[in-house]
């Protein structure tokens, strides 16, 4: 059976709702101009060398587990 509960929310009786809601709200259209501005900002940061900062705790999203920190 198809399970559209992509977030694994485990909602009895609501299994289709998260998937349908997600699809409706991610309408998937990416604005080209906005993308170009983001990429231009990336290039500017790269070329000015400001991109390399120190990783702060809020920047560390590596999965935890395994052998621990």
């Amino acid at each position: 059976m198809a399970d559209q509960d992509r977030g694994g929310t485990g909602l009895p009786g609501l299994s289709g709702l998260p998937g349908l809601l997600g699809a409706a709200l991610r309408d998937g259209v990416v604005d080209d101009a906005a993308e170009r501005r983001a990429v231009a900002a990336f290039r500017a940061a790269r070329d000015s060398g400001t991109r390399s900062g120190k990783t702060r705790s809020q920047d560390d999203w590596r999965p935890r587990g395994g052998s621990g920190p």
Partner: protein, 205 residues
């Protein structure tokens, strides 16, 4: 809690996203564009839920920060979703703080009442659910529930990641997402019934 080894973490694109982010961190601008295209729809959906029509502007601010701080980021594709959602959330909260000084007219409520058609169940209603309609429903939720729902089902974060973005315990976020979705399902049902009654008793004004 404690299920760190969850095999299904968010999206099917997370492998591709992680690879793109790694290449972007080495300076590849086309890889950064790939990451942008994967992340932006979910991020924009989340921001629309928080700031409505200003979402594009807030997203643009967030991407400037993402581009600038990319070198600091550590993690995989799923982690990148969480990291970018956190940045976008901070920009949205800044925006809302500024907006409190000059309140905007609430127009979303009217859109919410524009139902897509005669349906008997929420799933049927949602099959043809427009972005505006879905957004109106979510924005009608209490903020904690709306954010939990958006981060889980629109951004595609798992429970612990959504909790980290919100600075809350995973249990609290799970409960908020559950309550939010339940309420949405109920509201869809109620609105459908009202719609049907309106149709049956047409002429009451």
């Amino acid at each position: 809690m404690g299920q760190t080894g969850e095999p299904r973490r968010g999206h099917a694109y997370d492998g591709e996203l992680g690879a793109a982010v790694a290449r972007a961190q080495e300076g590849d601008d086309s890889a950064f564009a790939v990451a942008y295209r994967i992340v932006q729809p979910g991020l924009l959906g989340y921001l629309r839920g928080l700031v409505g029509d200003e979402a594009e502007d807030v997203a643009a601010d967030a991407w400037l920060e993402i581009a600038r701080d990319l070198g600091r980021f550590r993690g995989d594709g799923a982690g990148f979703r969480g990291w970018t959602a956190t940045i976008a959330r901070h920009r949205a909260l800044d925006h809302l703080r500024r907006q409190r000084v000059r309140p905007r007219p609430a127009t979303l409520e009217q859109d919410v009442l524009e139902l897509p058609g005669p349906h008997s169940t929420h799933e049927q209603a949602l099959e043809s659910l427009s972005t505006e309609y879905a957004l109106g429903l979510v924005r009608g939720l209490p903020r904690d529930q709306a954010e939990a729902v958006l981060l889980r089902v629109v951004v595609g974060l798992d429970g612990p990641a959504a909790a980290r973005v919100l600075g809350k315990r995973p249990g609290a976020v799970r409960t908020a997402a559950y309550r939010g979705l339940k309420r949405l399902a109920r509201e869809l049902g109620v609105r459908e019934r009202e719609r049907e009654q309106e149709r049956d008793g047409d002429g009451h004004g």
